[in-house]
């Protein structure tokens, strides 16, 4: 029994190392292509873009979100902004109504129907060749849009460009941990972009060609992860998605474990169920690295984390049981060996070295992500917080997402 467990354990470790090395090799192949542009980018022409801001009870942040769009370094007559109130019950409508008089802003109010319905309302009214969304809790950097648009100018085959998401608010420890996680995600996203294998086009300021929706249809509910489903649909139709690492969008992140848990549960649940919906894309040559790398890596990581959690609980159970037996047999007793520590008793099994290797690769990913966003790679304490916090709580939302999938219970948005 334990030998089967060991074989599975090593297969998972091998897959994890494989995925990390794969991304690292991709980085080394493309490192010269990854640049951070300083100052403003000039385009030969500025195509008209519509940015849709779907709002549902966003009274605290929406004004700042709209302000950030108004401050974008992009010709005002080429930028249309749709503010869509998706049946808010707070003062959101009152706040966005204040922007009605702006010539390039249009406001809409509809019954609550979910974020994808608000985005689709924007699509119905779309008159420009480019479409983007911006979640009402996120704020665009003034250079972000023009940098994103430069990707479309450079390569006419690019169908969507995702920006780098940067954490806007990092007050609590849990937010500091997410801050570094988002930087690491920039590295992963950039690598997947280079491979043509991106699986999410996030709500904050991913810009699409209108053609994507004309050809493939509007947003779907997609297990509350419409921004993931559209990317899957694009990949299935071989539409190119790029990642623009120097376009920054600042996004608000959950400040408590409870809220983070709900957000991640929704993400993972979305990943599992969209992958199930698109299972016929798996391991098909015509879908490229998306089908052979992104999806398998995601699936393996879900199984690996669940398996490792099970293993940890099993070992913990064994340890506690042995302590109980010890207590029952000899009472509270500390062996003298604790006092004279001996290097001999440090385990040198091969998985210890492999775990050190995996942690080093994760650290390297964080450093490369930081480098790609901030242009510097100094290590920070947040890296440690991330490893400590996420390794403890991440398995639980993974397991809950699997559990919910099995009993088909859909997670709530907030």
């Amino acid at each position: 029994m334990s030998s089967i467990s060991n074989i599975i354990f090593y297969i998972f470790i091998f897959s994890t190392v494989y995925a990390q090395v794969f991304l690292l090799v991709t980085f080394l192949e493309n490192r010269k292509k990854i640049v951070i542009r300083k100052g403003s980018v000039k385009l030969s022409s500025y195509p008209a873009v519509t940015i849709v801001v779907p709002c549902w009870n966003e009274e605290t942040t929406v004004e700042k979100t709209v302000d950030s769009l108004l401050a974008l370094n992009y010709p005002k007559d080429k930028l249309k902004i749709f503010l869509i109130d998706d049946g808010s019950t707070d003062s959101t409508w009152g706040i966005i109504s204040k922007f009605e008089n702006y010539p390039n802003i249009k406001t809409f109010r509809k019954e609550n129907g979910g974020k994808f319905t608000a985005l689709n309302l924007g699509l119905e009214n779309l008159k420009t060749d480019f479409f983007g969304g911006l979640d009402a809790d996120s704020f665009a950097d003034s250079e972000s849009l023009v940098r994103i648009m430069s990707y479309f100018e450079k390569d006419p085959s690019v169908m969507a460009v995702a920006p780098s998401l940067i954490v806007h608010n990092s007050k609590t420890l849990i937010q500091s941990a997410q801050k570094i996680e988002y930087l690491m995600a920039v590295y992963f996203k950039k690598m997947l972009g280079l491979l043509g294998a991106i699986h999410v086009t996030p709500g904050p300021l991913t810009v699409f060609r209108k053609r994507v929706f004309d050809d493939l249809g509007p947003y779907r509910h997609a297990h509350s992860t419409e921004d993931m489903e559209i990317a899957y649909r694009m990949q299935k139709n071989n539409y190119k998605i790029e990642h623009c690492n120097d376009a920054y969008v600042y996004t608000s992140i959950p400040g408590t474990v409870r809220k983070l848990f709900r957000q991640r549960l929704r993400w993972i649940y979305g990943f599992i169920n969209n992958t199930i919906d698109y299972r016929n894309v798996l391991f098909r040559r015509k879908y490229g690295d998306f089908s052979f790398f992104t999806l398998p890596a995601g699936i393996v990581s879900i199984f690996a984390v669940s398996f490792l959690l099970g293993r940890i609980f099993y070992n913990l159970g064994n340890f506690l049981y042995s302590k109980v037996v010890q207590y029952q047999t000899v009472g509270i007793h500390f062996t003298a060996s604790l006092n004279n520590f001996d290097l001999f008793f440090i385990s040198t099994k091969s998985f210890i070295f492999l775990e050190i290797l995996i942690f080093s690769l994760v650290f390297l990913s964080m450093i490369l992500g930081k480098q790609m966003v901030e242009g510097k790679w100094r290590p920070s304490w947040n890296m440690l917080y991330f490893l400590l916090i996420f390794s403890v709580i991440a398995p639980f939302w993974l397991l809950k997402a699997i559990y919910n999938t099995i009993i088909s219970e859909k997670p709530a948005w907030r």
Binding site: V17, F292, F344, T348, S350, F353
Partner: protein
């Protein structure tokens, strides 16, 4: 569209990393076995030296012979071997070390017994027989009791023998004390065989009796 060469190269890199980890593991495992061998060699020399000393001076002054240090090292070796059995894998090297260890234990036991007879020092010996061949919960618990006991009474000598050790000397010990594998764990205290689990309190009482003898006897010998 898919760069298969890259998938292969990454596979080779990952496999190399795996092999390196396993190489490192073997390297450090080998170092640990080397360390165990060193300790055993040292103990072997010490025992041989004591035996020679004993043979040279038949009228050996009892004060010059101190066996407590020896047993301490044997105990440390025992702990490390036990850890090694669990963590270094079931290799021939570890099994050999364990056989050698059993042999050293028997030699130490015989020497200590001789000294105690000659000098009329009655030390508290415990011979402990257990098994690793099958799951023996009682053995594990008895092991905990003995560890606790030895921590409480550092002078106590516990010689532990794995029933399944493939060594004629160990088999002879089993024959002498008529130890059966169905009645493990088994303890031998002052030539009396106790089978099954015995609690800390129970053994402590017995050991304290032995210690009392030890405390009084040396004074008596000095008076003589």
């Amino acid at each position: 569209m898919i760069d298969w060469k890259k998938y292969l190269i990454v596979f080779l890199i990952t496999a190399t990393l795996f092999l390196s980890a396993s190489y490192l593991s073997n390297y450090f495992g080998g170092k640990k076995i080397g360390e165990l061998q060193l300790i055993q060699d040292k103990i072997a020399i010490d025992i041989l030296s004591s035996e020679t000393q004993y043979a040279l001076l038949s009228d050996l002054s009892c004060r010059n012979v101190s066996g407590t240090l020896l047993s301490g090292e044997l105990a440390e070796l025992g702990k490390k071997l036990e850890w090694g059995e669990e963590n270094l894998g079931d290799s021939e090297e570890v099994r050999n070390l364990k056989r050698y260890y059993s042999l050293l234990e028997i030699k130490d036991y015989l020497l200590a017994k001789k000294i105690s007879e000659r000098c009329r020092v009655k030390s508290a010996f415990i011979l402990y027989f257990y098994t690793t061949l099958e799951k023996c919960k009682e053995c594990e618990r008895e092991g905990l009791v003995l560890t606790a006991l030895r921590d409480k009474y550092p002078e106590l000598r516990v010689y532990s023998f794995d029933y399944s050790t493939d060594l004629s000397a160990v088999q002879s010990m089993l024959n002498i004390f008529k130890i059966e594998d169905t009645k493990l764990p088994a303890l031998v205290i002052e030539d009396e065989v106790l089978t099954g689990f015995h609690s800390l309190e129970e053994l402590e009482t017995r050991v304290q009796e032995s210690f009392k003898l030890q405390e009084t006897k040396p004074e008596e010998t000095q008076k003589k």
